[in-house]
């Protein structure tokens, strides 16, 4: 018991983290009071951390220091403009919060042109692939040529699936769209497969934390 207490004192964060982990995992059996209690603690910690982050990572470096250490007093206007966000809680003056929201939305929207050009134009140019491909020593690379052909067919058929501006009466377009739909299922299957990996990794991390970091039963 004394040893356990000493171990707890030397690494209290790990012990408390382990207890919190087990408390939240009790949900998989059924909803219970212990889970709800720790869930509320989690929300409180997250909310408190956001306040700390606001002051430590935003107001201190972007407002306090520029204004009171470099004399850039005009940042006060930006801070006051940002305070308008909090009018979202006011029933009567709620509309004032739309000003900074609109400003940020405008900021993001203005950059979309560049993002679109730099993201999709290279994608478009990469989509036009050669069907006759040679290896560095001059031999014909049939496999790559076939793969390029398949790539372009898949691209066009999947795009044809999304032609909603007109009714797809032509049999060619309907069949193309159907094929595109099938190929999309391959992509969604791949997404499902990788999603499984992601979720299992998260669970493994928790089990390693409990049995490795906390109970030290595993090295």
């Amino acid at each position: 018991m004394e040893q356990l207490w000493q171990d707890f004192l030397s690494r209290p964060g790990i012990y408390i983290g382990g207890i919190c982990t087990l408390a939240l995992m009790s949900l998989i059996y059924r909803e219970n009071a212990v889970y709800r209690f720790f869930e509320h603690i989690f929300i409180g910690l997250a909310a408190g951390f956001s306040i700390v982050a606001l002051v430590k990572n935003i107001l201190d470096p972007f407002l306090y220091r520029p204004v009171f250490e470099k004399g850039e007093w005009y940042w006060t206007f930006v801070f006051m403009f940002g305070l308008l966000f909090y009018f979202i809680h006011s029933r009567k003056y709620n509309w004032l919060s739309r000003l900074p929201i609109g400003f940020l939305m405008g900021f993001s929207a203005g950059q979309t042109f560049q993002i679109f050009a730099n993201t999709y134009l290279p994608q478009l140019s990469d989509s036009f692939r050669p069907l006759y491909v040679t290896t560095p020593d001059g031999a014909v690379d049939i496999a790559r040529g076939v793969n390029n052909l398949i790539f372009m067919i898949v691209l066009v058929t999947v795009m044809s699936y999304f032609f909603f501006s007109f009714e797809q009466k032509s049999r060619a377009i309907r069949n193309s769209a159907q094929f595109g739909r099938w190929v999309m299922m391959v992509a969604f299957g791949a997404i499902f497969g990788t999603t499984i990996m992601a979720r299992m990794a998260l669970l493994f991390d928790r089990m390693y934390y409990i049995f490795g970091d906390w109970l030290r039963l595993v090295r």
């Binding site: 998989i28 059996y29 951390f49 956001s50 982050a53 990572n57 935003i58 201190d60 470096p61 220091r65 940020l104 900021f107 993001s108 950059q111 560049q114 993002i115 679109f116 050009a117 730099n118 993201t119 290279p122 994608q123 140019s125 990469d126 992509a187 791949a190 997404i191 990788t194 999603t195 499984i196 990996m197 992601a198 299992m200 990794a201 998260l202 669970l203 493994f204 991390d205 928790r206 089990m207 390693y208 049995f211 490795g212 039963l217 595993v218």
Partner: protein, 276 residues
Amino acid sequence: MQGSVWQKLQSIDRRILYALLLVVIIVPLFLPIRLPTVTMPSTQRLYDAIESIPPNGFIIISSTWSGGTRAENMPQTIAILRHAMQRRLRVAVFSFDVQGTQLSLDIAKRLAQEYGYEYGKDWVHWGFRPQAEVVMKSMVRDIPGTFDKDYDGKPTKDMPVMQGIRDIKDVHAIVEIAASGIYASWIGLVVGVNPDLKFGFCPTSVMVPETYPYLASGQIVGTMEGMRGAAEYESLLRKPGLASVGMGSISLAHVLIMLLIVIGNIGYFASRGRRS
């Protein structure tokens, strides 16, 4: 009686499923399954890209993840930082996530001690930056101006690690470790402006398929695909870590899920056959 067996196959109690999942995850922790990993081309390309950076080159690591995805993003962050420090590159770390800032700082401090990296001279942490797009747009033209303070509020202008770094052309590589689609902003605002820049992306496994169009066009030079990618990278670095340990458990979990899906479908088809 037989009909009810097929029905039962489709409706195993969820608590039994959860217990089975826990067993397949926990048992390999005590009885490790050691099977060789195969390094995927995308991981190899990222590794080769970092290897090709000249000594004393400058790499930016953006660590935009939080506690929820630490299982995958933490081993990725450790692997990339390790590689950069092994190669004695100048490293700048920052995050677009508040939690990620603290988490990446802790990891970087630990590894810096291991590799004898001196803060300010060999590496720097620029802290947290919200509103990713405006920061990216600004850093293309002026990195010291955009990141004029480090995580602790100290000026970065005169730090030896930042010497000679004016704009994005002075950066050899950027690696983003994230659980979101922020790579699109990097490609749109930074990579597109400087095609010589190597951009690596370390996503969670969920996002892996959607990165392939960008791998194909060369806009992303290489990826570390979730925990498996981190395990592959650890084997390339010859420094096994948490990701390598986890592959046994995750393998069995995958097999369990596939078996359960097959069992469910057997029950479905058999009971459908009996009804017809």
